[in-house]
Symmetry: C2
Subunit: 354 residues, 2 copies
Amino acid sequence: MSWENNVRKVVPYTPGEQPKSQEKIIKLNTNECPYPPAPGVKKLLEAESYEDLRLYPAPDAAALVDVLAEYYGVGSDQVFVGVGSDDVISMAFLTFFNSDKPILFPDITYSFYPVWSDVYKIPYKKVAIDADFRINADDYKQENGGIIIPNPNAPTGVLEDLSLIEDIVKSNPDSIVMIDEAYIDFAEEGTSALSLVSKYDNLLVIRTFSKSRAMAGLRIGFAIGNAKLIKFLNDVKYSVNSYTMNRPSLELGTEAVKDDKYFRQTLAKIVNTRERMKKELSALGFSFPDSKSNFIFASHATVPAEDIFKYLRGKNIYVRYFKQERIDNYLRITVGTDEEADALIGALKDFVSK
Amino acid sequence: MSWENNVRKVVPYTPGEQPKSQEKIIKLNTNECPYPPAPGVKKLLEAESYEDLRLYPAPDAAALVDVLAEYYGVGSDQVFVGVGSDDVISMAFLTFFNSDKPILFPDITYSFYPVWSDVYKIPYKKVAIDADFRINADDYKQENGGIIIPNPNAPTGVLEDLSLIEDIVKSNPDSIVMIDEAYIDFAEEGTSALSLVSKYDNLLVIRTFSKSRAMAGLRIGFAIGNAKLIKFLNDVKYSVNSYTMNRPSLELGTEAVKDDKYFRQTLAKIVNTRERMKKELSALGFSFPDSKSNFIFASHATVPAEDIFKYLRGKNIYVRYFKQERIDNYLRITVGTDEEADALIGALKDFVSK
C-alpha cells in the first residue's frame, strides 16, 4: 500500500505542437485563425484596467453570457461559458455522462473524447464512420449513455446535414446529445444545430472562440442548450471552480462578439483561401473529403503523408499528422493566409512532383 | 427514465458576493489585496500583444512554471499551475483522492472542500478543531484516503506550527497530504511547508496569486511537490483541458513574480494594517483568534455578528458572514488599505458602542 495506489492514472491528450523558438514558422497545425481578433479588442486591451486585476472576475461571467445570448437569439439562462470548448465539453461530460451504458462518438474524431471518458471513468463505444468519413444516423440508434458528435467533424472537415443531426437528437430523448460545433462558422449558414435547441431539451451545442473568433490565446468556449441543461452545467462548474474565466478573457471576449462585420469578413477570407487551396492541392495529386472547416484533411496519391509531414517540418511549415489507424496517410492542414497558402503549395510542388 | 437520471447533481459552492453596481463599495468580503499588482504588470499589460491572441498559449505554461521554480528554489518539474488555487485543488482532489476511505479536513475550514468531495464522489470526514480553533495532529492519525489542511486556516486566520504540519505529513506516508497555503505569505517567514517538500513525497503545497500577489482577476494558482506528484497532476490536467492558463495570465503572472521588492512592500503594508486593526477591534469589544492572514475573524462581546453584517452592508462596507454552526457569531473581515480600515472602524464605533 502506498499513496500511489489511489492516484487516478490516465493517458493524457497530446495537444498540437506549439513552437518555442522565435524562428519564422508557418503554423498550420492547430487550426488557429490566421487573422487577429476584431480591432476593438486591440483598443480594449490597451485600455485594460491594471487596477482591477486585484479583484475577482464576475463568477457568472454575465457580460460575456449576455452578449452571446443576444447574438444567438437565446436567453442568458441558455448560455454556459468556459475556458475554451475543452473546458466546456469536459464539464459537460462530468455533468451529463453518468450512465453505466457507453457513450457513443465516431471512431475518427476529436481525440480528446476518449481521454475525457477515461479520466471521468465513463464507458464509451466508438462508432465507425464509413469509407467516405460519413456518419450514419442509424448507428446512433442503439442503447447509450450519451452521444457526442462534432459537426463539421475533425480531423476530416466533413459536414453532416442538419437533418441527420436532428434524426440522432430526436431518436435519443433519454440521452444528452452534444454537437461540438468548433468549426461550424466556416460552413454555410443554416447548418448549425442551434436552430434545434428550442425544440429538443436533450441537445447541447458547443462552440469556441479559438478558431473563427481568433482568440485561442484567451481560452473561451461556450455551450447553448435549454435552461435546465445550463443550470445543471453551472451547478457542476460552481462545484469545481467558481471563477474560471479571468478578467481579460471576459472583457476581450465580450468585445469580440460585438463586431460582427469584422467577424464575417475574416470568415469570408478564410473560406476563400480554403476553396483556392482545394483546387491547388487537387492539381498536385492530393485528395480529401470536402471540407467545411478551416482545415483540409488531405492524402496524396503516391507520396506517404508521414514523409510530406517531415519534409514540411524541415521547411518550417507545421501541419498535423496523426499516426492512427485509418488516417495515417492523411495530413490535417490549417487554412492560413493567402501568403501562407502560397508558401505551402510552393513547397509541396517541389516535393510531390519530383 | 430520462436524461435527467444521468445528471451529476450537486450543491455548488457559493462564492463571496461580487458587487455589480458602480457604487463606491468598501469590499472586505473576499480577501482580495487592496493594492494593485507590481508596476511592471501595468507596463506589460499596455504592451501585450493583440496579434498573438489568435495563437494558443503554451500548454505547459513553462514561463510561469520556470519563474516560480526559481523563486521557490525547486525544480520546474516540481511546479504545477492552474486557474486559481481552486482549479489546482480541484485537480488534485481528482488526481489523488481515489480511495474508498474518507479524506480528512477540519470541520471549520474552506467551504469548498466538501463541495469538491461531493462532485468527485470522494468520501470525507470532518475533523473538529478545538474551541480555540486549533488543530490537533493526533486527530489526523486515523485511517484516511487523504488529508487537506489550510495553513493559516480560513476563515479563522489561525496558523499552526510547522512541526504540527510535519507530524501529520510524516504520520501519513500512504496518503497525500495537501497544505493549502493561500494565506501563508501574510505569516512570518519559515512557517511554510514548502521546506518539507524535499523530505516527504506525499506532501503537496498549494498557493495562489489571488491574495498576496493581487491578481484575483487573472486566476492563477500553483502547487509544489515532488516531481512524481506533479507528473500525475499534469497527466490529469492534460486529460481535462490542455490549455488552462490563457496568454494574459501567463505573461502577467510571470512578470509579477519577478518584482520581489514590490511584493514584500505590499505584504508589509497589509500586515501593518492588520496589526493596527486588531488593536482597534479589541478596543471596540471584538475578540478573534490571532490572525496570520489578510483577514480577521471577529466576534463582538454583545452585538450579534449578523446584525453588524447587515448594518455594514447598509453603509456599503462588505464583509463576509457565514450562517454556519460554531461560527455564526463571527465576521470575516479582509484587511484593506488604512483608509478602508478607518472607514470600517469609524462605522463600527457608531454601531457597537451605542
